[in-house]
Symmetry: C2
Subunit: 139 residues, 2 copies
């Protein structure tokens, strides 16, 4: 047995690819347009870590995507959590849970999928503006 | 950047470990009991594929875990989808979407996390009882 992917539904494919690829930094691995089922599947992964993918399902006929409490989040390790959060903020992404502790941050996808960013290896020293940055919303 | 895990919340840790480990076949990798936050984290993975984990969050104070449409499913490749589904059925798991096509099945965790099982490599030849098995519920 082998882990393949986590699938999430997206209501706006362009907005979602902007978020997951341009802002978060994942790479599009494969795209399948299923005419018969009227949906598009886009498989994303971290460059060099293509075994663990996120599958975006985009239904061509609009649906509402609410969130539930049984799903928590997707988590990624990053090399420098301050640099990652700065890049995300510069790109207009809200850091819902800033890395005040030099270790952990949370953001949300356009469809409210919670994404945890965790500092690889050793926790970073507390640093402004992160140390005193307030939470924003929930994650 | 590196994918770490997908986190799901579980309302009954014992029932969930029975499902994810005993029935689905994942292995417990690490467990952390956080007294202060009153929760337990259990990290699971396929044996030999420990890089891609599922994190179970069990809150000691009961919560209700509804499901939302923005999250789709977790997916795993299996060597023999008929054998896997037979084992799951024998263990009392409902096959919501039987592998009629020799390729794809869906089951649900105790907290309604949808799990896709996909035949590794070539699709299997259609085979009874799977070919004529009806769907059960949603997934």
């Amino acid at each position: 047995m082998k882990y393949l992917h986590t699938m999430v539904r997206v209501s706006d494919l362009e907005k979602s690819l902007d978020f997951y690829c341009k802002k978060l930094g994942l790479k599009e691995i494969q795209r399948r347009e299923i005419e018969q089922g009227r949906f598009t599947l886009v498989f994303l992964a971290v460059e060099g870590d293509e075994d663990a993918q996120v599958e975006l399902t985009y239904n061509w006929d609009p649906e509402e995507y609410d969130e539930g409490r049984n799903f928590g989040h997707l988590a990624y390790a990053v090399d420098d959590i301050y640099a990652t959060c700065q890049q995300l903020m510069d790109a207009g992404v809200t850091i819902n849970r800033p890395p005040r502790d030099g270790r952990m941050a949370f953001i949300r996808s356009p469809d409210n999928i919670s994404i945890e960013l965790l500092q690889s290896g050793q926790t970073l020293e507390p640093e402004e503006p992160w140390s005193s940055m307030a939470n924003s919303g929930t994650w």
